[in-house]
Symmetry: D2
Subunit: 344 residues, 4 copies
């Protein structure tokens, strides 16, 4: 088995969403980090809090970022976060005139939280595109097969006949509701300083505007509302698709044969089989995100002004939830696209 | 140890919220169930779907509900749900003229889901009262102690000095946000019939109005959005209070002594100790709800038109989450009320 | 919905195991608590650590235990645990000559942990009886139906034909392995004192022998190995039965009809249906225990010599896991007993 | 934030254990996969089930394994697992004389489960080395500081004085017990064929011997005992270290100062701070594994002879648990190595 299915050459074709994984690569994380530092310098310069020229100096320095890997890893191994090492690099790159104004008033958590929101906003955008495609395909399927008869089943027993449309509309509604939840997420900037008691409102507003993020005046360094809302929306979506995956697996049973898919997985031992691979993975991803969600909410118990342990737990859980959500969105789209017929 | 802390005479004084537990007693569940059946008959009669007199007959029958316990338990043991037994009782009680119109067009899940929403709405109302009291006490504490100095601490190390108000405002904001989330919950009626393909919109609307619930036209028999939103709001609130509980436990450490509480737990072995019992339980309830939340979202994977296994899992998790939330709301209020001073 | 399915008159016929619930009632918890105090006095008296007559005095006092409920609840509300109130009661009941020797060298956690192990050992005994009955019935089913053909299915698709016996043996092996795991559990006494640094080995040994528990010399006040092992064994068993429940639900699908059960749940709306209620609940209980297990292991993070928050979280999770395990053991037995035929 | 802390250049210096991550790389997974196929051919050839020369042919083919990445990814995207593509490659490489004897009697799950056990066994070996080092360092710390006084603390309040040795022995015992649990794990071969009804016992035994794995005669394709036992042992170990991490964080509080560490994390905003980074991460990893454990046990509910959805969920959870365990083992060792003094 590979450490992560999404990143392994052996599994990623099925599990990973390459675009979203790229957003959560170290490269893209560094890009977001330096975007924060540049935008901060700009905002502070335009408020007169740092000398004229700071923003330009930071921008130039950030373009030529190059780390001595060994030195960098040693710094991270000591500090637990990469920000002090990156800030030290920028300070040295801008030279003594501006050094003290790099990262001014900010703390590591400001940078990481903000970078996370930038990454998450982009990822959610990609997810929503896949959901829109799913909804379009479902509309098509409804038109083509909606009038056909389907046996309504409850508690896994035949209940009463209904139409294919009756079931597809339930799917459609659940996906549409997930999409609404994702569309209503707020991605705020974090700029709250070392003990979270805030920073200049104008700088925060300019910074947010520059980075395309929202402003919430209160620090969310310990009150992780935006993060929990994001996790909740992710699991809502994978849950909706997990239900659909379970339905498709049941509909594909040979004796029931209520749905026909193009393609489908083959078996190393039984060439005659056609496995509902994508449907199964949607179930697995739903349960995976439901698992991770617990960790995300365990991470809500921050101590005092900023917590190391709780925040780290969030880092472990959240990116995986977002990427699982993206994989589910892609697989769901592919699954719907592969439907040859529903009902009889 | 007792099966549930909330219900055991040995533990409930600390863990249970009596009012909310009563809402989730068998008696109150039966009350909600028959309210549904009465309101349904009324709504259908006013739409002309059942004979004049049905509503009155069901209402009368529901008032004299009396079960043969042994017979009832046997029925439940067979059917898995109590509704068929209750409906059979009502049918027999209204007599042959109306029997076929009792529970007309409804299924067990309609009744149980609707009763759940009635119970949940009342429980959330009680929770919100405790949160309002908490916010009032915090305002008082802010007035009395907000100007005092407090050491800001990050990663459990002294960081920079700030004021007591700086920390209390973080607490206040988190509680206020939880309250907002609870206030925005929607509690819909369920009336979707045996395979969830809906029922007369007018009956549904009248039914909802009678029971004080919201209307969503689409069935939520498998798309458990209202249930998941409720769980998310519960864990959001207990998480916010769990953070505060962790803070208070840390502030009460003897060498740090940043907060003084009245009362507090004694020890069977060390009479000199004063244990921050309520603060600790707030942490435990936060982690408990974060645990249960995972089960609630595992229960999102319903099969086909209605799932037995997933729905049962929801039953196991959700009432416990609501009751834990209510306990936390009460304990949080008591904890704030017991604050003698904060900071120095 | 009711607060706990296992205790509600509306649901317990399906969900509760009455015998195991009784073991985790407040009454039985108090009984176990006073058994500890009596056995401790006896052990200490026989070592000469308390005056002759102490054991007798505690034994007599413990027989006439009667609490003023209001006073008792007030004490619990303050201390968070019931032990100080019970110990105070015993001290007063034995009179000044022996009062200081009641609970000597013990702390609340010693009593509660030990009582828990007494309750758990009895519960596991009951569970194992149901597993033995399951295994006997499976042997019978194997004899009667083992030679019949059954379609082997993988990834929910027809794979290759096999025999009914092939599948039943998998069930049997999983149950047998669960039984082995339960049979190997160790239930140790706790007698480690206020800060866990141990107590007289001879007293501990006598105490354990008197209560029918094992001895581990090292305190397990924070190293919750026996508790975690118990939880792991519980979830192992419910997982094994959950797999069987999933199989039975799939086998009972109308088009597949690989198993016939006697009885089975009826529907309030569709009298023709026969729902695989017990099989579904086995799935739900497997997922419920898998959910709770996470909380139990979150509770492993104890602080310092004894933790309030972590220990409380354990209280919330563990008794529920044990009772869910007992319910599953009973339902599994009933499910196997109801099998009319398997295969064709 | 990066998708996985363990693999990101930005975080791995703190979170990853390079050796164990390598074991769970795609390269090492492929290596284990082909080792299985080679060993299988050898075992079958020595039993006379495949023509003489098969083993040699497979061994040669496996050495020159080279995939057309695009073609390979396409195959995986279709089948959900990589084995059919790898087997097809080997079949073509050995030529028509032996092709039908490659992977004979095996199914994808046999290969993946066996490879997983090979990877896990090696990983556990590395973890145990770090635990042995931890225990050695603790012995040293006990010798140097064990006699010093330490305040015993319960419920986060000062309780009674004890020695540093009293606390260190609790740590030591918990780690030693974790080590015992890991040392008792059984890593069995899987060779059960497409529907799990087993295969030749002699082939299985030879195969296991060749790969250094254990033999269990019953298929564990759906009864995931070895996997669950592995997960339980992992979370037991990270829980033990999480408790120690929590203790160290509390001991390092400035006002309490019961432990002194060399090194320690710096802050981007407050250069005077020394953050207990490794201790915090141990807490986070304990909670992370407790989170993932739930998913692993959710994955116990396999359907029929082999489940796609449940198995996939296991893939998502288990490698991450093992790698988190390895990271904790390394960080724990580094933490103990960095102790300058304990107590006063």
């Amino acid at each position: 088995m590979s450490y992560t299915l999404a990143m392994s050459q052996l599994h990623r074709a099925m599990f990973g969403d390459a675009d979203v994984l790229k957003l959560f690569s170290a490269d893209d994380e560094v890009t977001a980090i330096v975007q924060f530092e540049v935008a901060l310098a700009k905002a502070q310069e335009s408020c007169g809090f740092v000398p004229v020229g700071t923003a330009e100096a930071v921008a130039v320095a950030s373009k030529n970022l190059s780390f001595d890997d060994a030195k960098f890893e040693k710094a991270v191994a000591q500090d637990g976060v990469a920000i002090p090492a990156i800030v030290a690099y920028l300070k040295s790159a801008v030279g003594p005139a501006f050094a003290e104004h790099v990262h001014q008033g900010a703390t590591s958590q400001d940078v990481i939280d903000t970078a996370l929101m930038m990454q998450a906003r982009s990822a959610v955008g990609l997810v929503r595109k896949n959901l829109a495609a799913q909804l379009a395909t479902l509309t098509e399927l409804l038109k083509n097969f909606g009038q056909r008869t389907l046996m309504g089943r409850t508690r896994m027993q035949r209940a009463l006949p209904m139409t294919v449309g009756d079931r597809l509309k339930v799917w459609q509604h659940a996906i549409a509701q997930s999409e609404v939840a994702l569309s209503q997420l707020v991605f705020p900037v974090q700029f709250s300083g070392p003990i979270g008691i805030g920073n200049d409102a104008k700088v925060k507003t300019l910074l947010a505007a520059d980075l395309g993020l929202a402003v919430v005046m209160q620090s969310w360094q310990t009150d992780r509302l935006p993060v929990l809302a994001l996790g909740n929306a992710c699991v809502g979506m994978t849950g909706a698709l997990g239900k659909i995956g379970a339905d498709v697996s049941l509909m594909m049973q040979n004796e029931i044969a209520e749905i026909k898919l193009r393609g489908g997985g083959s078996s190393s031992a039984m060439p005659h089989k056609q496995n509902p691979v994508k449907a199964e993975i949607l179930v697995a991803l739903a349960r995976w995100n439901a698992t991770l969600l617990s960790g995300l909410h365990q991470a809500a118990v921050h101590e005092q002004e900023r917590s190391g342990a709780a925040w780290t737990l969030e880092w472990l859980a959240l990116p995986q939830m977002i990427c699982a959500t993206a994989s589910a969105a892609r697989l769901g789209r592919e699954l719907f696209d592969s439907v040859e017929s529903v009902g009889a």
